[in-house]
Symmetry: C2
Subunit: 202 residues, 2 copies
DNA sequence: TAATAGTATTAACATTGTTCAATATATTTG
DNA sequence: CAAATATATTGAACAATGTTAATACTATTA
């Protein structure tokens, strides 16, 4: 019965690959059961032999995008000094990734998770993503500075919330209106949040 | 030709009223051209004589919801002392309104504005809404304390971004998982942001 | 090789946004 | 006031989409 599992995984992989290609290429607009199936080289009905519905398929891609995003970020911030500065760099790269791939932003933050099932785990994955990316850096800071852990978790949350908020306004409401202005706002906001580390040292 | 304008405005009003009723009642899920028209007592095709498409109609409701929201908030914060404390209260009431009416949240933050046209004005209205609600209080603070206006605009933005981010995560990603916990997080975050006023006094 | 189980596909349905020609209504004019 | 004209309203129809169910196909096994 192992063959069956392998084949099933392979089939799921084909559809997921197709979904990811469409998402990153044509965008969320263009993706629907028929286009995914066409890209995968199957009929649209075949999809339903492997996924409960199209939402399940689409949300299964979250993992892969997170890995891709994490890899891109790691590369980008390599040369930044660890700790506070690298956290800033990670947050900026995190935001930049979603600006580069608007449909991934939509998938992560906008698209409604359908029925129950894998609901909470996926939602949690998304919520803790930025924190996970910064985990080493926070550990580094805790080791080298003497800061109340309450303050740290407030700052972590603030970074996460401000990032999501800025992305939401920029992607969905074109605010600020230009990319340059957006970048400046990111810089300002992230610096403001991280500067609390100084005043929080006890 | 004035009669014609009056009649047209009246018709628009019927459809907008129907849309608002459905939005606040059944939610965004249940609203579509046919249900709106039925609620208004017309055929779905009639709608297209007054609005370019359904998106235009739906986004025209933003104004009314903002007024309703502003009225609710004003009532709620009346007894709070002006200045810093009232800003906190306004921000909390602002968030609470969207939690109470999830489809208004969707309309304001999630729903894609269609083609160009009234795009930017509506987006701007939404972005500056919280700032507008707090305008008097900020004026009060500037009068009574000596604070760099740069710092104030950073704090304003932060309040706006964190509010949007918290709402986004709570409404779309169930994070935090419980309402009580959500309220506590709001409190924590808003206090943290507003406490910067103290350190910013020059 | 024939029966069976599993897989893939086509056909079909429901829902939605939108357009358009036909119908009903209102307004103007002789 | 009645005919002619303009306007408003409407149901029919189309396209796109998600989903299901019956049918065709393929591979396994007795």
């Amino acid at each position: 019965m192992v063959n069956k599992d392998i084949q099933e995984q392979r089939m799921k992989g084909y559809f997921m690959q197709a979904t990811k290609e469409l998402l990153k290429g044509e965008g969320l607009r263009s993706i629907n059961v028929r286009s995914i199936a066409a890209q995968a080289g199957y009929s649209y009905a075949t999809l339903y032999n492997y996924f409960r519905d199209v939402k399940e398929l689409v949300f299964l891609c979250v993992n892969d995008f997170q890995e891709e995003c994490a890899a891109e970020i790691r590369l980008k911030v390599e040369k930044t000094p660890p700790g506070q500065e690298r956290i800033k760099a990670i947050a900026k790269a995190y935001i930049a990734y979603f600006v580069q791939y608007p449909s991934v932003f939509n998938l992560f933050f906008i698209e409604k998770l359908g029925d129950i099932g894998q609901k909470q785990p996926t939602a949690n994955l998304i919520f803790t993503f930025l924190d996970g990316l910064c985990a080493d850096e926070w550990a580094y800071i805790i080791q080298n500075k003497n800061i109340d852990s309450k303050d740290i978790s407030t700052i972590k949350l603030q970074l996460n919330y401000v990032s999501a908020g800025m992305l939401l306004y920029y992607m969905n409401r074109i605010q600020p209106a230009g990319y340059q202005e957006f970048i400046e706002t990111i810089d300002l906001q992230i610096n403001a949040i991280m500067s609390r580390l100084e005043t929080a040292i006890s």
